[in-house]
Amino acid sequence: MSPTAAVNLQDVRFEYKVGHPILQIDNFQVPSGGRIFLHGPSGSGKTTLLSLISGILVPQQGHVNVLGKDLTQLSAAARDSLRGSQIGYIFQGFNLIPYLTVAENIALPCDLHSARRARISEPTIAKEVARLARRLEIHTHLNAPVTELSTGQQQRVAIARAIIGSPELVIADEPTSSLDTDRRDAFLDLLTEAIRDTKNSGQGEVTLMFVSHDRSLAAHFDQTISLAEINHAAVLAEAKL
């Protein structure tokens, strides 16, 4: 295993039903500080792979090493803690808790994890939330209910929540699928800049894993990986067809 890999999967096999593997990956690495674009068609196991990397699921076989920890050796609670304190997650849509304000949504990881709280650059969580909100131009909506925001604004709140407290790994699961082309590019630029800011402010390397079925986004990233190429289970499924 490379000592600088943020994510390292070795001989991983995962199946929901016995005899029907969804993922079968011999070797997959994401270098620390890298910006990886992972693409694959719908149903190819992208979200399952992200669930393995974030420690929600555990493979039946193999090792999933994330930020120096072998998740297969950790308890469920330890995996949850690692995810909350070291990983920022952006969903495709419905990223926000509807009954919390914008500020509360952004602050949530810091409220739940002292490690995230310890890494903020401002003296208080509220000031850190305000700083990020200004950077992402949502500072005028901080006390608004999230339901009053446009889809684009909601995705920016999701970026803020994912990067607050400088997690070492940010995972974005099809975050642009509900945006039009102009907004999609603006979102990607903003995400990239926000992560670069975090890196530049001396808070360590931030690794970005961006997952999408849309290959046209590949130009925004350092490295592009096709899930179909690394997932033997997908190849086998296609062969059966």
Binding site: T47, T48, L50, S51, S54, I56, L57, A76, A77, D80, S81, R83, G84, S85, Y89, F91, F94, N95, L96, I97, P98, Y99, L100, L108, P109, D111, L112, H113, R161, D173
Partner: protein, 418 residues
């Protein structure tokens, strides 16, 4: 934990209507349970407080409870009369301090007419040491004097000097009026919040005067004029019952035995407090039935909470996925839902108990004056505390069902709930 509590609170607040209705249903159930409990205590206090300092009630041979109910609470009729001689015998008994003779059998607009003497005003006590006070005028002295209980005076809007005609029998709509012997209101008693307020008081001879010329309780035939009243010929032959105060409490049991075995006439004497116990054991059935109904309503309230939380689960799957993504453990998801159900049950319980006390505080005057039930605003009784704790515990236990489902969802859905 603080963040979880905040999340649970805000999640419930976001479903304000469902949450409010669920809380309302639990609060209503608690109101019924606690209300029944408080009113039972109030009823006991009301009945027990109606009569104090009276050691024995003596009437014709019959059941103890009917004697108590008819003589003190004006419910039902006495089985028979007792002779004036028997009354005199015990009134002058060396162990007896005082007696209050009572004759009943007539009414005024449905209110009992009680023929008695000065002893009633001097010795009748209620709620411990409280004795009767005349708000206006004086006690009945003359043949056709009548003193009104406070309720009678206020409801019928009668004042001193009013002339009233009493009716024969205790039915509200009596066909036989004592038209020839009208009474004059000479006194009005101050309110006591006991059945005393709902009766009118005449002298024993006044009672005899109304029935002058009657033969064996039967009025003169139609067309037949009653003989002209000759007060000098009036005498009391029988009374309905009498209250008795012994010189010492020690002699009460001895007196009771002597009265119950009195050879000259079959009599029954009862110790009011003991006979009230019989009443409570009868009321316990009604109390149990009411409590069961209230308990059933509480179960329905808690089930409504379960349904509300359970049906909300599907809507909450994406939120659970987000919370899992920000590092909430599956057991914290369980705790979150448990907090919601416990919060609903707790708020429902507190609101229910608070509402009962508020209502009792606001309505105690009305309840006391209309029903004679003094409402004691004491703290929570042990029974109420048990109800409250049981409701919250049941709410929490029922909450484990949706909480367990949310826990499983969070494990199965992971970050993938749609």
């Amino acid at each position: 934990m603080k963040t979880l509590f905040r999340l649970a609170f805000k999640s419930l607040r976001s479903r304000a209507l469902t949450t409010t209705l669920t809380i309302f249903s639990i609060a209503l159930s608690m109101m019924l349970l606690v209300g029944v409990d408080r009113l039972r205590d109030a009823a006991k206090a009301g009945f027990s407080g109606t009569l104090s300092h009276t050691d024995l009630i003596v009437g014709a041979r019959g059941g103890g409870l009917p004697l108590l109910l008819s003589s003190i609470f004006h419910i039902g009729n006495a089985s028979n009369n007792i002779s004036w001689e028997s009354y005199q015998h015990f009134a002058h008994h060396p162990a007896v301090a005082w007696t209050i003779p009572i004759t009943m059998g007539d009414s005024f607009h449905g209110y009992r007419v009680i023929a008695t003497d000065d002893n009633f005003y001097a010795h009748y006590h209620y709620r411990g040491n409280k004795s009767l006070v005349l708000a206006q005028g004086h006690a009945s002295q003359e043949l056709f004097d009548i003193t009104l209980g406070a309720d009678v005076a206020s409801r019928l809007n009668l004042g001193l000097g009013a002339k009233i005609v009493l009716a024969h029998g205790i039915e509200e709509k009596s066909i036989l009026k004592h038209n020839t012997t009208p009474f004059t209101v000479v006194g009005i008693l101050a309110p006591t919040a006991t059945p005393v307020d709902r009766a009118v008081y005449i002298t024993l001879l006044g009672e005899e005067a109304m029935h002058y010329g009657w033969e064996n309780g039967t009025p003169p035939a139609i067309g037949e004029e009653p003989p002209p009243l000759d007060p000098s010929k009036l005498k009391v032959d029988v009374i309905t019952c009498f209250l008795l105060g012994a010189k010492s409490r020690m002699s009460t049991l001895y007196l009771q035995r002597e009265i119950n075995t009195y050879k000259a006439e079959p009599l029954t004497s009862i110790i009011p407090a003991y006979t009230l116990q019989e009443l409570w054991s009868l009321l316990d059935y009604a109390d149990t039935a009411l409590s069961l109904v209230s308990g059933a309503v509480l179960v329905v309230g808690l089930l409504a909470m379960l349904i509300a939380l359970y049906t909300a689960l599907n809507e909450l799957r994406r939120e659970i996925a987000i919370l899992r993504a920000v590092g909430l453990h599956a057991r914290q998801i369980f705790t979150l839902f448990l907090m919601e159900s416990t919060l609903i049950a707790t708020v429902g319980t507190v609101v229910g108990i608070g509402a009962v006390y508020l209502l009792l505080f606001l309505l105690r005057g009305v309840i006391e004056s209309h029903f004679g039930l003094p409402i004691e605003l004491v703290g929570l009784s042990t029974r109420v505390e048990i109800y409250a704790v049981a409701t919250i515990v049941c709410g929490a236990l029922l909450g484990t069902i949706p909480a367990m489902r949310a826990y499983r969802n969070s494990l199965v859905d992971g970050l993938n709930a749609q």
